[in-house]
Symmetry: C2
Subunit: 450 residues, 2 copies
């Protein structure tokens, strides 16, 4: 495999053929193309992009590098959700059992937190005993048995993507829409899905903050899914403030459990229901949003959704009693209340500052090998637009010790803005619905935060 | 050293500080920054370029990675010439002894052929016994003793450049003006020069064919030299046809010897004199071009220049009698005359086709480890603009065997165009003079080929 001429062609604005992408990814995975050539090519892709046929070929090649979940002959529809990630985004923990409780199988493969954003696997592993490292055989069996499994990317799935992602992470080539799309879709398409729903975050705390970038990523992933026989829909949601109140692994798991019990914060539930409606529609369970929403609300109110989560936890080796008694989750060594430093309107709760503070407190990773402390984080009750009085409690910090509390306080002081008036409006919580047919701007509710 | 944030900054159009370049190159040379991060950064530089201060810092860092020739306290001026390379470009072999014969020390460090262009070291090594791998101590002693040394880049000189060049060669990051300039200048500035003269080739056979690219490279290198206390001047010369008649290592060495004996082809001598004049002016040996030219012509006519080449050959272990008797150079196994296939005007002698054929015949390298056959090549007497008759001998092919002759004939048939009229004029042989003060377009002689 002579990689240099391919690098030069991409550098000069040309395209690689599907056969070239296929051979290149295979040679790279087999170690016959070195990291330094792939790094140069990836940087050229950052500047030149990928044509639609190249993106499909790259994704196919990554998919072909590993195994897939295969559900041939099983009639139950399979639908998954993917989020581009944010701070406080524990939607998956509520949504997967909730949708599974409505008769849609959810074979969910998630990631770990890296950078300022959290990861579903880390949140699940806050549950004592919970195993995310299932094999594909185990994952398939559990999906068929209880309709839901929540696992990490196994060594069997898209190994080329694992290697490429690790390389991109250290070569400044993460922030390229086609590479992001290919990475996500190579894993999702390996899940044997009938449809996929995307939660594409935008705003200051999102991976791609600008609306145009978020729309571009959504459309790229939708094209890729549709081209590969997997109908795909995306919702654009706000990540200019954390979602819900809890930020930090065990704290978010607790909030997700509260959500499944009907006690979740309204913004978390609004996003969860909106995505759940899309999943039920895509699965063909319901024909209208209203009916789908009703079905989801019933599954929640009846306790079937919470019970489904208990089944998942039990099947994956965790202690299912955490759903009844979240105090069984690991608890932080120190807790302190954070009070508003001034009277006024909350103008901002900056997610990146919060996310970085959680990493600094030990609740996230700087390198993939880092061990994390699931107990640390914060619960912020104030939202942009809220009126607060000086000295009023607006958050709690959960830390290992006094040093951690200090880090948390410093981050909250910086992240939470208070001023005489709101200034810029927060982003509408759910602003756009994107399908293969186009972009629909959704009506903004009177409280933009919901 | 955290390289990823530096890669991201360059990718996004920012600049690295001199301290960052310095630390990065040091860490890379020490193996603490891996090739894949450097490859991604280099590709980002291909797209984003380098600011003047960054280029200076990168060059300094590469220079600082190794040793230099130091001539403190030695009054003799040192001046070198660098060519961006072409086909048939044996100027260095004539120029270095010629200028040294005029009282300017020439500590010349050259490269090997790679791609379609030849390299001075390969031409010198066609001389039986000639050693180009001198240490810096040997090189300095020889320079002081006889005023001229012709060596390769030693392991002591700019090791960071060696590693970077090898990486660029396989990652599509060779063709970036700032990287080319930094690579060349990091070596030239290690020679302890008082001034530097550049021969920047343009035209189809040049590394950077377009005039604007050639001018850009010249100006970038001049800025770098001047910023580092080494006055630098460039001439732009034609590489839309081979220089001189001989192409191939031993054949070119023979033609260079003929040049030193006053029997060189006019275009080779015109370029040699023009560069020599710049070198004598830069060294302060003469104050006017006319006087400098006269001095060079005298050194040649008197035989002192040829004698200087004998001294260099002898000092470096070669057989000096080749200057008197070029038949002592290794001889090809097979020689055949190539005749004009038609009557008309020669419209083109395409250097890349010739250069690639020599590589295919065994006279150049595909990888740096390849051994080369110094005897192969061709001597082309026809120049663009010449009128030829069908069947008239216009070239000779020198090869190992009949297969090589066939390769040579095929290349000449393709490279030499013959038509009813000239069509496009060849480039003026020496078209521009570039200094720190600007670009001067030189008057075109009636025969543009001279």
């Amino acid at each position: 495999m002579l990689a240099a001429p391919l690098i030069e062609r991409k550098r000069d604005g040309g395209a690689l053929t599907p056969e070239e992408w296929s051979a290149l990814v295979a040679a790279y995975t087999a170690g016959r193309v070195p990291d330094y050539q792939m790094a140069a090519l990836l940087m050229a892709v950052v500047f030149r992009g990928l044509e639609r046929h190249e993106l499909a070929a790259l994704t196919d090649a990554m998919l072909a590098s590993g195994s897939r979940l295969a559900f041939e002959g099983w009639a139950t529809p399979r639908v998954d959700k993917h989020s581009t990630g944010g701070v406080g985004d524990k939607v998956s923990l509520v949504l997967a059992p909730l949708v599974a409780a409505c008769g849609v199988a959810v074979p969910m493969m998630s990631g770990r937190g890296l950078g300022h954003t959290g990861g579903t696997l880390d949140k699940l592993e806050a549950i004592p005993g919970f195993r995310t490292g299932l094999s594909l055989v185990e994952a398939k069996a559990q999906t068929v048995k209880i309709g839901c499994v929540m696992i990490g990317q196994t060594a069997e799935i898209a190994p080329a993507d694992r290697r490429l992602y690790a390389l991109r992470d250290v070569t400044g080539t993460v922030e390229a829409i086609p590479l992001i799309a290919a990475s996500i879709m190579s894993k999702k398409l390996a899940e044997g899905l009938n449809a996929l729903v995307l939660d594409v975050k935008r705003g200051s705390g999102a991976f791609l903050p600008a609306l145009e970038q978020a729309l571009g990523l959504a459309q790229t992933m939708i094209a890729l899914g549709e081209d590969r026989g997997c109908p795909t829909v995306a919702l654009l949601t706000a990540m200019d403030r954390p979602l819900g109140r809890a930020c930090g692994n065990a704290l978010e798991t607790e909030e997700a459990i509260l959500g499944l019990r009907g006690e979740g914060p309204p913004d978390l539930m609004a996003v969860t229901y909106a995505l759940g409606v899309e999943m039920l529609l895509a699965a063909g369970i319901d024909q209208t949003s209203t009916k789908a929403r009703q079905r989801l609300e019933n599954a929640l109110a009846s306790g079937i959704a919470a019970e489904k989560f208990e089944q998942v936890i039990e099947a994956q080796g965790g202690n299912p009693h955490v759903v009844e008694d979240p105090s069984l989750l690991p608890q932080a060594g120190a807790v302190e209340v954070f009070c508003a430093p001034a009277t006024g309107v909350v103008t901002a709760v900056e997610p990146r500052t919060i996310g970085r503070a959680i990493v600094a407190m030990g609740g996230g990773r700087v390198t993939v090998e880092d061990q994390i402390d699931p107990t640390v984080g914060c619960v912020i009750t104030a939202k942009p637009g809220d009126k607060v009085l000086a000295g009023e409690p607006i958050a709690s910090v959960f830390a290992k010790d006094a040093g951690g509390i200090e880090l948390g306080f410093a981050a909250l002081s910086k992240a939470i803005g208070i001023d005489a008036d709101l200034g810029e409006q927060p982003l509408p919580l759910i602003s756009h619905r994107v399908t293969k047919d186009g972009v629909e701007e959704l009506p903004v509710s009177r409280d933009r935060r919901l």
